[in-house]
Each structure stands twice: as C-alpha cells, then as structure tokens.
Amino acid sequence: MTDYVPAISILAATFAVAFGAIGPALAEGRAVAAALEAIARQPESAGAISRTLFVGLAMIETTAIYCLVVSLLLLFANPFAQ
C-alpha cells in the first residue's frame, strides 16, 4: 500500500526546491540591486556595503538552503519510505 511514498517524496522534493528558490532569488536580486545603487551613489563606502551585502546574501540564501536540506531529507533519509 505504501508504493506511492517514493513517488510523492520525489515530487515533494522537486516542489520544495522549485518553489523554495523563488523567494530567495527575488530577495537576493533586490539586495544586490540596492547595494549596487548605494555603491554608485557613494563609491567610497563600497567596502562596508559589500561586506554587509555578503552577510545579508548568506542569510537570505539560508532559506533556499533549508529547502534543499528538506528535499535531500525526503530523498535520502525519508522516515516513511521502507
């Protein structure tokens, strides 16, 4: 009866990565655009801006990484699949 678990797991993993990447992608785009605008306005503070940008990008990227970890858990460490 549990034959459908692998198929659903694969589908769920795909959806997790696919839709989970949308938000971080848009957010990172916005962050980079804002940082570029700030650097264009104040080139002398490029160092501080890019340092903060990298940390912020990593924080944003974490949400996408969560989705990746969830999908890998579904694929490799699924507690419901035999």
């Binding site: 940390v55 970890v69 890998l72 460490a77």
Partner: protein
C-alpha cells in the same frame, strides 16, 4: 544515484569506537594548522620574513574586522573567531585534495562548531552581564517576549549549523553528480565556484559567531578602551 549525504563512512575501529572519515580529516587539518602556526611563530623577529608578514597581515585584518563589529579590544575574541575562520576555511578547501571530502559537508562537524559558538555566547553573556543580567536579556523589551527570545536563541545557532552544512554539502554533492555525468575537466568551474562559496561561508560563520558572542558584550555598554594601546607591543 550517489551516496546519501547524511551517511558517514567509518575509517577504522578503535575497539568498539568507530572513527569516521570526517573525524580523521578534521584531525589532519588541525595537525596541519597547529604545526604551521608553531613553525611560523617559533622565531618571530622585528624584521618579519615572508611567512611572518603573511601571518601578521591575517591577524591585523582579523583584528580590524572584529573591531568593526564589537568595539573595544579585539584580543578578547581573536582566539575563538580566528580559529573558527581559519579552520572552516581550511576544511572547506580540503575538497580540492583528491579523495578528501570536506568535514564541514557532514552535519556532525557543523553541529559541533555551532555548539561551540552556542556555549561561547552563553559564557560571554554571563561573564559580561552577570547571571542575573544575562537572564534579564531574555525578558527584554518585556516579559511577553520571553518565549520568542528563547526560541530565537536556539534557532539562530541551529541555522548557523544548517547554513554551513547546506552550502558545503550541496557544493560537494553537485560536483560528485557532475563528475559522474561528464567526467574530466567539466567540474573545474564548479570547483572554483565551490572555493568561493567555501571562503564566503567561512567568513559568514565567523562574522555571525562574532555577532552572537559579542551581542551580550555590546549590551553591557561601551567597553573599557585600552588607553595604553600606543605604548604596548613595541
């Protein structure tokens, strides 16, 4: 399909105790770093040689980064943050050595690193604010925030662990998949990207660890700036 990224292979057994490959690689990195630091700092001179100049550059950059985040004497945080930064950087870049998997691509190593930061943040909080003052930070701005502050304390260290694990593991995983598909020379751009990711992740882990550990110190107010800074060290 490749091996599960959650599995760890046992290298050898000491009695009933299985020693896994990440542990072996971790101890190898530690041995190399410790031996390198010992060899470079064995004979320090006022006219630095090439190795000493590089080391001084690293320490000076680290100090200025620490001072930019937590004002005051950077020497308080230098051992912890510097070790975290250099160890994670070396661990992430071990993927360049053939046959070696970075230990940070396994959840256990990252959990250990995040636990170190967790313990250090509690210790620094109690040390700079006192037990009562540290506990009072959980009910700030009001007691209503107590559950949120408690959950936040746990989740930010948890996300520290997952972030490093996810980034390094996904890089290693993608390279292994591409390697099984395409073979020679194709994974090289991906490996270059992975080096960049490894460096950025090491920097971010160290910066966030500094922010977490230093938040309590910052709340304790402006630190005693060492007035005798000019006349020390030389």
């Amino acid at each position: 399909m490749g091996a599960s990224p959650f599995n760890v292979e046992t290298a050898f057994w000491i009695g009933p105790l299985g020693i896994t490959w990440p542990v072996v690689v971790t101890w190898g990195i530690m041995a190399v770093l410790a031996a390198g630091s010992f060899l470079i700092t064995r004979q320090l001179s006022l006219k630095p040689g090439r190795a000493q100049a590089v080391l001084e550059l690293i320490v000076t950059t680290l100090d200025s980064e620490i001072r930019a985040t937590v004002p005051g004497d950077p020497a308080r945080f230098r051992p912890l943050i510097g070790t975290l930064l250099i160890f994670i950087l070396a661990a992430n870049w071990t993927s360049l050595v053939p046959g070696v998997e970075p230990p940070t691509a396994h959840l256990e190593t990252d959990a250990a690193l995040a636990l170190i930061v967790f313990a250090a943040s509690i210790l620094w909080g109690i040390r700079s604010l006192g037990v009562g003052g540290w506990l009072a930070t959980f009910v700030r701005p009001s007691w209503f925030m107590l559950p949120l502050n408690l959950v936040g304390q746990i989740t930010r260290h948890f996300s520290l662990m997952i972030r490093l694990f996810g980034n390094v593991m996904s890089g290693a995983f993608i390279i292994s998949i591409v390697l099984s598909l395409a073979g020679l020379l194709v994974p090289i751009p991906l490996m270059a990207l992975e080096m960049l990711t490894g460096a950025v992740q090491a920097y971010i882990f160290a910066t966030l660890a500094l922010v977490f550990v230093g938040s309590a110190v910052n709340e304790a107010g402006p630190p005693p700036e060492p007035h005798h800074k000019e006349k020390t060290h030389d």
